[in-house]
Symmetry: C2
Subunit: 302 residues, 2 copies
């Protein structure tokens, strides 16, 4: 496994691999690798001859500096996991390699970045779109793989890749969960044990919505009520948002659900009373499928 | 010579050329090709095995819709000129090939786009940076060639290519002039004959500044006065801007000139009194070199 720190070296290697007919799949990460990332590496192995992982904690996508400084970093451990997973190249650029000028050029993702997390985290998706564009230009891969847990990120990147015309395919990897259902995230390690136990409220809320839908519920507000009621059972939880929207455009779902609908959740978990520490913000989501024997007038589009 | 209309076809051809070891130079244009463009094609031939020209009138860089609708279009003639100049591929995409989604992704070029033309033409360089990024992703060339007449465009694109990390080199081509000194431009054809004669005021103003500098003038304001006095001799001329600035950052030059300095001009030429028609905006520039035997305390940086 090669560890590469400069864009120029990565581009030279990409040219060589491409000229030899080998395909490359890139898995962009911010490090602190867990089973979710490793499932993306597996996905990459299925598609391409070479699997490259980038590890770069991107300052431009943090709207909160204490969130950036507190983001977990574990490079030695990450490299070990990559080696064990059969990764061919790990790209670990320094900050000034990715942001060379004081006057930056931004990739602005448009209205799709204004929904959901875009409202809570101003500038976040501009930072994501910009660093992903740079990583794609650095690695020049045939595929890039992103997890579906960051669903809006995946949609924003798909849109950017289509709009700017990158010559590659974006692949989404299914959410990986702990045995109790909590979606894997580097942020889970920052939860107080008590908050960690309550954090299963997210997946329970997704399940509650799915159950309601399967029982025939089509009213968006009543569906959301079952979601928020489930989350309210966790005393340390504070909802940032719980929304139903179109999984392609992220626009709010209609009052009466017709098509497959994204249920997206962002929830803060506070430390227990009397305990010092920052709240930890977790996200989770599920694309709710309406039953195929639906008798609704409007048929699903996909 | 091949004429290609889709990004996918161009990317496939680029991959094939690159894999075979051939180098590609792209000359992006908006058509209405003249000797200035053809000099860029010559420059491209000197550097690369294959010369590709793109012809696309980019709506996103027009801040004025009548300017867009009146922009000269002459595809048959352009293709003939490309053929005669030994161009290998002409890329002529339709508008929805380059802008596929209603919600666009923009490349925002930062503060460097706020100076000079950026002040007169809001959004212009965002449109330029975005379309150039798309063309570079479509052609995947080793070189891209831009004329120095659009000096700020060249600087904005160099900055974007550096910031985003495109794997290619940007080349600048020297300004080509008519026998009387007017810089070649597709807009020259729109000048009333009387305005056309007066349009040499731009190059005379550049010459006046160079002469003043060679006579030892280092005061920026007095130098600019010699520039505006020269332009004022043309009754149909209306100055949009006449500025001295750093040729790398485009920041305003110091009151006392020290280093090589860009003199950038934008001047409207009105039709003569009583004649119908729009004003035509022309630009021109020169990087003024301070004499190498300068005794100034601050040495030129380049």
């Amino acid at each position: 496994m090669r560890v590469i720190e400069t864009i120029a070296e990565l581009q030279t290697l990409s040219d060589r691999e491409r000229a030899s007919g080998a395909t490359i799949a890139l898995v962009p990460t911010m490090g602190a690798l867990h089973g979710g990332h490793l499932s993306l590496v597996d996905e990459a192995h299925k598609r391409a001859d070479r699997v490259w992982v980038s590890i770069f904690v991107n300052p431009a996508q943090f709207d909160d500096t204490s969130d950036l400084s507190g983001y977990p970093r574990s490079l030695d451990n990450d490299l070990e996991r990559c080696r064990a997973a059969g990764v061919d190249v790990v790209f670990t650029p320094a900050s000034d390699e990715m942001y060379p000028a004081a006057d930056p050029t931004w990739v602005e993702p448009g209205e799709i970045a204004q929904f959901l997390c875009g409202r809570s985290r101003p500038g976040h998706f501009r930072g994501v779109a910009t660093i992903v564009a740079k990583l794609l230009l650095a690695a020049k891969p045939h595929y890039a793989v992103f997890g579906e847990k960051d669903f809006q990120q995946l949609v924003v990147i798909r849109r950017m890749v289509c709009n700017l015309g990158f010559d590659l395919q974006i692949l989404g990897g299914a959410i990986v969960r702990e045995p109790d259902g909590l979606a894997l995230s580097s942020r889970n390690a920052k939860l107080h044990p008590q908050a960690r136990r309550q954090a299963t409220a997210l997946v329970r809320a997704l399940d509650a919505a799915q159950s309601a839908l399967e029982s025939g519920e089509r009213d968006a507000l009543r569906l959301l009520h079952s979601v928020t009621a489930e989350i309210a059972k966790a005393p340390l939880a504070r909802i940032d948002y719980a929304e139903l929207c179109d999984p392609h455009t992220l626009e709010p779902a209609p009052a009466r659900l017709r098509d497959s609908t994204l249920l997206a959740l962002a929830v803060f978990f506070d430390p227990p009373a009397g305990v010092e520490g920052d709240a930890v913000r977790l996200i989770d989501n599920r694309v709710l499928q309406l039953r195929s024997d639906s008798h609704d007038a409007d048929r699903p589009r996909d």
